[in-house]
C-alpha cells in the first residue's frame, strides 16, 4: 500500500521506511532529492524536487573488526565518526576522504559516509592507496523502484555477481539511495614525513612529483600549490617562503619513513627540497590540503580537473592565457584544482575547449546555483557513453525520481 509522498524533508530512521518513501515516490513519479548530511548539497546541478529524502538519521557504525580491516556504517554516519573510531585502533580510511564543506562555505567534518562514496572524492593518498571506490567492499541501498538490495559483502575479495557497490561510487545519488556501506580500512602509518620544495614552476613541480611517485618509496601524497594560495597554509615555513610550494609525503614505520625520505631527498636534489616536516607538522599540512584550505573563504568558481599528470601543467598554462586562475595540483599532477575569476560561465567554455585537446575531464565544484543550472557541471560525455549512462540510470531508477538532473539532464 503506498500513498502520495508528502512534500518537504524526510529523514527516515530505518531502511524499510526509506524504501517505503522511495516506493511512494516511484508510484507517483515524484522526484526526490537524495541527500546524506548535505555537506555537498551545493555541488552539482541543482535538483528540481519538492521532496528531500535524507539518510542523516541512518547514522550508526554497525560493524568494525580491526583484525579483518573492515568497517560498516549506515550511510548517514558522519565520516569523521568513522575516522575517529578507526584512529583509536591505529587504522584509517586510506583514501583520505576530501572534506569539501569548508571550501563551500560550510563547517568542517559534516560529510556522511554515503556522501563520500556517492561523490567518490578521494584525497592525496589516492595515488598510492586508491580512490574511495577502491575501498568499498559492499553496499546496501534502495533503488528507484523502492526495492532494497545489496551488493558485495564484508570480505576483501569478492567476485560473486556484478560489482554494483563500486559502480555506485560517484553516482551522486542518481542510481540508488545507499543505506549501509562496508569499507576496507588500513593501518594508519606510524610516521609521516614531508619534503617541501619552494618556487618551482608548475611544469617543474609536476616533473618532480612524477619522479617521486615513480620511486619504490611509496610516496603517499604530492601537491603543488601556486604562490598566492601557498600562504594560506598555517605551516610557517611555507608562509615565509612567499613562493609556490611543492610537497611530497612519505608514510611508514619510523625507520622506513626516515630511510625513504632521505633516499627521496637525494633523488629530488635537482628540485632542492629545503624543508622536511616531521609527523606532527606533516599531518597538519596534509589535513589542510584535505579540507582545501587554499580555497576556503572565497566565492570564486572552483573546478576539479582529472588529467594525465604529464599534460597537466601545459593544460593549466593554456587556460591561464585567457582566464585569471589559481591552481593546486594533487595526485602528482593528475588532479588539478582550479579557481577561476567570476565570469558568467565560470570559465567553462575555455576550460572544456582546452581539455578537449588534452584529454581528461572537469567538474565545476563551486559556483552560484544559477551558473550550475545553466551549464554542464560534470564533463559532457561522448554520445555512446551518455546513451549507456542513461540506460544504466533507467536500470536502477526507471521512472527517474532519484536526484533527477543532478549529474546530467535526464540523469
Amino acid at each position: 500500500m503506498t500513498g502520495n509522498l508528502r512534500l518537504g524533508f524526510h529523514a527516515p530512521d530505518s531502511t524499510a521506511e526509506l524504501a517505503h518513501l522511495v516506493a511512494e515516490a516511484a508510484d507517483t513519479r515524484t522526484p526526490i532529492e537524495v541527500r546524506g548530511r548535505g555537506s555537498k548539497h551545493e555541488v552539482g546541478r541543482p535538483v528540481q524536487a519538492g521532496s528531500v529524502v535524507s539518510t542523516e538519521r541512518l547514522a550508526e557504525i554497525t560493524f568494525y573488526e580491526p583484525t579483518e580491516l573492515v568497517v560498516s556504517a549506515l550511510a548517514g554516519t558522519p565520516v569523521v565518526e568513522v575516522e575517529h573510531l578507526l584512529a583509536e585502533h591505529g587504522q584509517q580510511l586510506a583514501f583520505e576522504p576530501v572534506d569539501l564543506g569548508p571550501a563551500l562555505g560550510g563547517k568542517p567534518g559534516q560529510a556522511s559516509v554515503g556522501g563520500v562514496l556517492a561523490t567518490n572524492f578521494s584525497g592525496s593518498r589516492r595515488i598510492l592507496a586508491g580512490a574511495a571506490r577502491d575501498h568499498v567492499l559492499g553496499v546496501r541501498g534502495v533503488n528507484g523502484r523502492g526495492e532494497a538490495f545489496k551488493s558485495g559483502g564484508r570480505v576483501m575479495k569478492n567476485v560473486t555477481g556484478y560489482d554494483l557497490s563500486r559502480a555506485l561510487a560517484g553516482s551522486w545519488g542518481t542510481l540508488a539511495v545507499m543505506t549501509e556501506i562496508t569499507l576496507k580500512v588500513l593501518p594508519a602509518p606510524k610516521e609521516t614525513r614531508t619534503l617541501l620544495c619552494f618556487g618551482l614552476t608548475d611544469a617543474t613541480a609536476v616533473e618532480a612529483m612524477c619522479l617521486a611517485v615513480g620511486t619504490p618509496f611509496e610516496v603517499s601524497g604530492t601537491a603543488h600549490v601556486q604562490e598566492p594560495l601557498a600562504k594560506r597554509f598555517s605551516e610557517q615555513d611555507v608562509v615565509k617562503a612567499r613562493a609556490s610550494v611543492t610537497a611530497i609525503r612519505i608514510e611508514n614505520f619510523p625507520g622506513a619513513a626516515r630511510h625513504r625520505t632521505s633516499r627521496l631527498k637525494e633523488k629530488l636534489a635537482a628540485y632542492a627540497p629545503s624543508v622536511e616536516l616531521d609527523t606532527e607538522r606533516s599531518r597538519r599540512f596534509w589535513s589542510e590540503v584535505k579540507s582545501l584550505k587554499m580555497f576556503q573563504g572565497s566565492e570564486r568558481p572552483l573546478w576539479r580537473i582529472s588529467i594525465a599528470p604529464s599534460r597537466a601543467a601545459k593544460l593549466v598554462g593554456i587556460i591561464a592565457r585567457t582566464l585569471d586562475i589559481r591552481t593546486v595540483y594533487d595526485w602528482s599532477g593528475g588532479l588539478v584544482w582550479l579557481e577561476t575569476e567570476l565570469t558568467s560561465d565560470a570559465g567553462a567554455v575555455e576550460i572544456r575547449r582546452t581539455l578537449a585537446e588534452f584529454g581528461g575531464h572537469a567538474t565545476l565544484i563551486r559556483a552560484e546555483p544559477g551558473t550550475r543550472a545553466s551549464l554542464d557541471v560534470f564533463q559532457p560525455l561522448d554520445p555512446p557513453l551518455m546513451a549507456l549512462s542513461a540506460k544504466l540510470k533507467a536500470a536502477f531508477d526507471p521512472v527517474g525520481i532519484l536526484n533527477p538532473g543532478r549529474m546530467y539532464p535526464g540523469i
Binding site: T67, L69, S122, R126, N158, A167, A169
Partner: protein, 478 residues
C-alpha cells in the same frame, strides 16, 4: 553425469550453421576462424574440465574492428557468443554452448604503449598476465595482480573475473589496477571507458565490466596501472601445530598494523605435495604453514620480519625460517604457485574459491574438514590467508561420474558454509556455470534482479555468455 545444464540449444541456429560459418568467413580471415571438429575440440572446455561442449565455431579476431564486426553480425542473427581468454577458468566461465560461437582473444597480445611518467601501459586484452610485467620489467615496473595461472591466463580473462593473486593483499585486485578499457558491446559498438587520468567523469563503468565474466561486452584493450618494483622482498615461513594457531597469527600480524605483500596458507596435505613437487624446503612436520612476504630496503625487510617473528612467537610456532637467498625465495614461491599443478599430479581435484571473514578462519577450516570427511574425500587447503580467500582442493576421481557429482555436492556445501560465516561464494575465480545455481544462497531475488537489469543495459538480448552467473530459471531480462 555433471548436473549443470547449458540450457537447450536453439535448433534454428544449429540448422543454420553452414550459412553462419560462410558469413563469419567474410568477417574474419582464415586463420582466425576454426570450424572443423578437431580444431573446435581444443576449445570445448576450460579448466573446469568436467564440462565440455563443442561450439558452432571458434573466432579468433586480431583487431577490435574484427571483434566489432563479428559481434554486430551475431547480434543481427541472434547468435550467442562465449568470450574466451586462455581458457584457464576454474568455474566454467569459458564453457561453450552448442548454439554459440566462441570468441577468443589469443591473437590480440600486443603491448601498445608504455607510459613511465603516468605509470600506465596500454595493452591488448589477449596478452598474458605475466607478459605485462615482463614488458615493463626493464623500466623497473610490474603489473600487480598475480593469479597462480599468470603464465597462461590473459588480462581479458583477469578482467572478466576481477582476478587477484597472492600479492593483492597489498596491491589490490584487477579492478584496483585497471584505468581504462576499450570494450565492444554486443551490437558491435566500440566504447572507450576511462583513460590515462585516474577517475571517471560520469558513472564509473569500470567496476561493472571488471568481474562481469564477459557478459557485458568484449574487452579488447586495457590501460593498466604500473607499480614500481620494491627495493627488495623476502618471504619467511611460519609453521604451526594447528590451523587455529596459524589463523590467529595472521590476525595478530594485521592487528599490529602490518599489511605484508602476501600471507599464504597451506595445510599439511598441501605442504607435502607442494614440497615434493618443488623441493621448496617447507617444514613437513607442521599442520599449517604460512608464507609471509614483505618488501622494502634491506633494513626495512629485516625490521619487518623481526616484528612479524615477535608477533608469531605469541602463537608458539613450530618453525620460523626466513629465506636466506634469492634462490630459496624463488623455491618457496614456486612451491606455492605450482600448488594446483602439483596436486593435479597426485589426484584429480575440485578447487573451491570461497571467502570467509578472517576471524572465522579456524571455524571455516574445521567445517571444511568435517564436510569433506562426511563425503569421504581427502582435502588439501591452500589459500590467501590475509584476505580470507579459501581454496580447498577436494581430491576425487574425475573418471567416476558418481564421485564427480559427490564432489560437486561437497563443494556446494563448503561454499554454503562460507556464505553462512559472512563470506561469499567466490573471491577471484568467478561464478561461471559452476556456482551459477548457488547464487540464491548469497543474494535475494531483488539483489539478483538488479544485477540482471545491468546485464540487459549492455546486452538486452542476453547473447553474451548467457548461460553463466545467473540461475537459468527466473531471470529478470528487462
Amino acid at each position: 553425469m555433471p548436473h549443470l545444464s547449458n540450457g537447450a540449444p536453439d535448433p534454428a541456429i544449429l540448422a543454420r550453421r553452414e550459412e553462419i560459418l560462410r558469413q563469419l568467413a567474410k568477417l574474419v580471415p582464415a586463420p582466425g576462424l576454426i570450424v572443423d571438429q578437431e580444431g573446435r575440440r581444443t576449445f570445448e572446455t576450460d579448466a573446469l574440465t568436467a564440462y565440455r561442449c563443442l561450439p558452432l565455431a571458434v573466432v579468433l579476431p586480431s583487431t577490435t574492428e574484427e571483434v566489432s564486426k563479428v559481434l554486430r553480425f551475431c547480434h543481427q542473427k541472434s547468435i550467442k557468443v562465449v568470450p574466451r581468454g586462455a581458457g584457464t577458468s576454474l568455474c566454467g566461465g569459458a564453457l561453450p554452448l552448442e548454439d554459440a560461437i566462441v570468441l577468443g582473444l589469443s591473437r590480440m597480445t600486443r603491448v601498445l604503449a608504455v607510459d613511465e611518467t603516468n605509470r600506465v601501459a596500454r595493452v591488448e586484452a589477449g596478452i598474458t598476465n605475466i607478459a605485462i610485467s615482463q614488458a615493463v620489467a626493464s623500466q623497473g615496473f610490474f603489473y600487480a595482480p598475480d593469479p597462480s595461472s599468470q603464465l597462461a591466463c590473459t588480462l581479458g580473462g583477469n578482467i572478466g573475473t576481477n582476478a587477484g593473486g597472492a600479492r593483492c593483499l597489498k596491491y589490490g585486485v584487477t579492478v584496483n589496477n585497471v584505468q581504462a578499457l576499450r570494450i565492444v558491446l554486443m551490437d558491435g559498438e566500440i566504447i572507450d571507458i576511462g583513460g590515462d587520468h585516474l577517475d571517471a567523469p560520469g558513472y564509473d563503468f569500470l567496476p561493472l565490466i571488471i568481474g562481469s565474466e564477459g557478459q557485458l561486452g568484449i574487452v579488447t584493450e586495457a590501460t593498466v596501472r604500473l607499480i614500481k618494483m620494491p627495493e627488495g622482498s623476502r618471504p619467511m615461513l611460519l609453521g604451526f601445530d594447528s590451523s587455529q594457531a596459524a589463523g590467529a597469527c595472521v590476525a595478530g600480524i594485521i592487528a599490529a598494523g602490518i599489511v605484508p605483500v602476501a600471507i599464504e596458507f597451506m595445510d599439511k596435505p598441501a605442504i607435502h605435495v607442494c614440497d615434493n613437487f618443488a623441493h621448496a624446503g617447507y617444514p613437513l612436520d607442521v599442520e599449517a604453514l604460512l608464507i609471509v612476504e614483505v618488501e622494502g630496503s634491506e633494513d626495512e625487510i629485516v625490521a619487518l620480519l623481526d616484528t612479524i617473528a615477535e608477533i608469531a612467537e605469541r602463537y608458539v610456532p613450530h618453525v620460523m625460517h626466513v629465506s636466506q637467498s634469492e634462490a630459496e625465495s624463488a623455491r618457496i614461491w614456486k612451491g606455492r604457485k605450482a600448488a594446483f599443478g602439483a596436486i593435479g599430479q597426485i589426484s584429480d581435484y575440485y578447487c573451491m574459491d570461497g571467502v570467509i571473514p578472517l576471524s572465522k578462519l579456524p571455524e571455516a577450516l574445521l567445517d571444511v574438514g568435517r564436510i569433506c570427511k562426511r563425503y569421504h574425500f581427502e582435502v588439501a587447503n591452500i589459500f590467501h590467508a590475509g584476505d580470507g580467500n579459501l581454496h580447498p582442493l577436494i581430491l576425487y576421481n574425475a573418471n567416476d561420474p558418481v564421485e564427480l557429482e559427490r564432489a560437486e555436492l561437497c563443494g556446494a556445501e563448503i561454499l554454503k558454509r562460507c556464505v553462512e560465516l559472512g563470506g561469499c561464494l567466490t573471491g577471484e575465480h568467478g561464478v561461471g556455470i559452476e556456482k551459477r545455481d548457488l547464487m540464491p544462497l548469497q543474494f535475494s531475488p531483488a539483489d539478483l534482479a538488479q544485477q540482471m537489469r545491468v546485464k540487459s543495459v549492455f546486452d538486452p538480448g542476453w547473447l553474451l555468455n548467457p548461460a553463466k552467473v545467473f540461475p537459468l530459471e527466473g531471470r529478470t531480462l528487462t
